[in-house]
Amino acid sequence: MRTTTLRTIATPLLILGATLALVIGSAAFRVGAADHLDAPTVKTDGRIDINDVYVFQGQNTNNTVLAMTIDPAAGILSPTSFRAGALYEFKVSTNGDAVPDVAYRIKFGGLANGSQSLTVLRADGSADPANGAGGVPIGRGSSYQTVALSGGGMLWAGLRDDPFFFDLDAFKDFKAALLGGSLSGLASFCDGNTRNFFDGFNGVAIVLEVPDSALKPGTAHPTIKVWGTVSIVENGSLHQVERMGLPGINTIFNHSDPTKEAYNRARPQNDVANYTDDVAGVATLIQQLLGIPDPAAIAHGAAVAAALLPDVITYNTSSSADFTALNGRALSDDVIDVALNFTALGTPTGPLSDCIGNDSTFSASFPYLGSPNAN
């Protein structure tokens, strides 16, 4: 279980790594959020900006749910719809190499009276989507309706509550103190001024539920690696402009707009080669700021990078999702508390918390996410 252990230790550093991002970054949202508003192209249009990716067991325990929330503060910062012509994808690697073996591709039509037509395609193999998306159509319907998929499963798309929760203001205090060489900022958490910055935010969501066996034919419950992408037409051809696996990678470890943009356009299979230094550098720096001397801090940085890259969510489909073990990500998983405890104490659970818990009411059944908030 070496990999799991390393990942577990490394996860909180994703959050602490934001300290460096804050020094360099400028936008309010550039830190703390999971993947909200993470790079220039997606900031132009919230409809192509992934907030979070979730992977968890369905109500039918033989099914796996892949959910993607998009569009930070939907309705307030961007329209509550999907971008027509964009291609939204769940990519799934079933052999551990972070190269997609299966892609579920969702395309939307134009907005008409608040809803959009949609098409779901499945592509097997690692080929990039063609301009026409590629793949075999397995479902057609419209947003706000459950679309049955041939081969089993279903898909729903539309406005929902954004499940993400986090005391972003307190974290900024924590970060400022940390930069000054102190952990006194931890006192900003749970200080009577606690507040979930994401309270009341909505996002548009794509929720896909498929039989485990459909993910890897011939295997009842495969272990999978999952990430979400969004591609748009640029200069006449389709280009990936957004991706997300684990929460916070791009917002924390990459610090300039061009770097963040490049990251969003990259493939997980190349992450180890391309981003190890960046991730290790930040993790090492934070360890040093926490007072951990070299060479331990350097070794730790390397371990973090090795654990976090490639940037995908790993999930054993025979189990319940549990982010504390980096096994999938459930809607209510408190990634922030996990991060704090791992960082400070080295354990996935413990006394540290931002005192923000899940504020959403989820459905036990498909499509699971909470009803949208009234704005």
Partner: protein, 470 residues
């Protein structure tokens, strides 16, 4: 409120005064949102007298008209959303809520021309600055507000600070380039835009490069770049971005006297965003140039009632005068005077439009010269020199007017308004060849001229052709 009822209000009417205060200072021509970095849209600066609309700084695409099912909540509802959140935090406001509240005020000011929203944004940003741990996020917005208020020095200082911290800050790069461009520092602007172009591929960059190309005498490249921006925006589908880039393209076609293409682009802009006033006004100008005055007036009257910008009100007065209704025209022009009075009390963002108006209509020409000189000290671009040249010409100072006109022509900007002013000055100096060349350009591009100046330009050219110095 119709134009007539607006104009008939008592001069001391408080509502009118408030309306004018909001309209004055505002620059606020509902610019599109333009898309690059982390930052949100900003109010676009006043269309320069004789210039194209300026793209706003990089921003998130927020829209403004894309409301309704599946769209954004209306601007006022967005303001209310963030106001509720700020209010809920009581004496411990969240800096992030304050920043987004400021953004919402900026968006609303874009939609309704309310200067008060710019000052409210400033207030919110001031509070955010006091509590934020991310000063850069506040500073870029403060820079945007300063830019919108034509506070060039402040906008430049803030964007420079941001770039010193992060040379790849796209929003700061765009804003810095815009400040340089608006203040006549072309090569510095070019350097910023080229740097931006090297970092990101975006309609906002092509739009800026297009404006730069036009200013420096390359309208063909300008059209190519802005066409690319418009096509990309159409692909993205955000209504206000589509409207803005279509409008910018339409203005280029009007500048180059291609009125059919201009009309088509204005109509596409209005198709995307029917409430987009700059396109309505541009279409009205085109209709007048096409001899369709009744249509032009029908387009202008509601536009003036909604946002009485000096240039637009002046044009309406011109059309009324050309229709033979001198009394109504005088009442309309009196409204421009009132806007000027209020603007002078609240800010200087309309100075350039008012200078041209006064010079065109031989009203406060001495004041126009003074204002033009004052503005040149902080904004020495070609349109600033053009305004000074025209005002000086109108007070009879032809010699100094000619010096300013040469500055206005120095970049080779193919704007018929600059050509008209410079041509009249050249004629007065007895430089017949230059005058004929310039006035030919002006008459060919008469769709850009204020309606009452078209016969002036034509008569002057005819005189020259007959061997008579006007």
């Amino acid at each position: 409120m119709s134009t007539r009822s607006l104009l008939s209000l008592d001069r001391t009417d408080g509502r009118l005064r408030r309306s004018l205060i909001f309209a004055a200072a505002a620059i606020l021509v509902m610019g599109g949102t333009h898309l690059l970095g982390a930052e949100r849209p900003v109010v676009r600066p006043e269309t320069p007298a004789g210039g194209l609309a300026v793209p706003s700084v990089p921003s998130i695409d927020l829209g403004g008209g894309d409301t309704g099912p599946g769209g954004l909540v209306p601007p006022s509802a967005r303001v209310a959303f963030w106001e509720r959140r700020v209010s809920a935090t009581g004496t411990n406001p969240s800096s992030l809520d304050l920043i987004y509240l400021a953004d919402a005020y900026l968006e609303r000011s874009r939609a309704n021309g309310d200067l008060g929203d710019l000052t409210r944004a400033q207030t919110a940003l001031g509070k955010a600055a006091a509590v934020t741990r991310d000063p850069a996020g506040v500073q870029i917005r403060q820079a945007l507000v300063a830019f919108s208020l034509h506070e060039w020095v402040m906008a430049e200082r803030l964007s420079d600070q941001l770039l010193a911290a992060d040379p790849t800050n796209l929003a700061a790069l765009g804003l810095s380039g815009d400040v340089y461009l608006e203040t006549g520092r072309i090569e510095q602007a070019r350097a910023r835009y080229v740097a931006l172009d090297g970092l990101v591929s975006s309609p906002a960059v092509w739009s800026r490069l297009g404006r730069l190309a036009f200013l420096t005498g390359d309208p063909a490249s300008a059209i190519r770049l802005v066409s690319r921006a418009a096509a990309a925006a159409a692909e993205e589908g955000a209504a206000d971005a589509v409207a803005f880039y279509r409008f910018q393209l339409a203005e280029l076609y009007r500048q180059t006297a291609d009125l059919d293409l201009a009309t088509a682009q204005y109509q596409l802009a209005l198709e995307a965003l029917p409430s987009y006033l700059p396109a309505t006004v541009g279409l009205a100008r085109t209709r007048e140039a096409q001899g369709r005055r009744a249509e032009a007036i029908a387009l202008l009257e509601p536009a003036v009632a909604r946002l009485p910008q000096p240039e637009t009100v002046a044009m309406l007065g011109d059309l009324q005068a050309l229709n033979g209704d001198a009394d109504q025209a005088e009442r309309t022009w009196a409204l421009v005077d009132r806007i000027g009075e209020v603007a002078r009390a609240t800010g200087s963002v309309y100075d350039r439009q008012l200078t041209i108006f006064d010079a065109d209509h031989d009203r406060d020409v001495a004041g126009a010269v003074a204002r033009a000189r004052a503005e040149l000290t902080v904004r020495p671009d070609v349109y600033g020199y053009d305004a000074l040249a025209w005002a000086l010409f109108k007070v009879g100072n032809v010699e100094e007017a000619a010096v300013a006109a040469r500055q206005a022509l120095s970049l080779g900007t193919p704007d018929p308004r600059i050509a008209f002013h410079a041509g009249m000055i050249a004629a007065a100096e007895g430089r017949v060849g230059d005058a004929r060349t310039l006035l030919n350009l002006a008459v060919r591009g008469s769709a850009m001229l204020p309606p009452l100046q078209v016969p002036v330009a034509e008569a002057a050219l005819a005189s020259l052709d007959m061997g008579i110095t006007p």
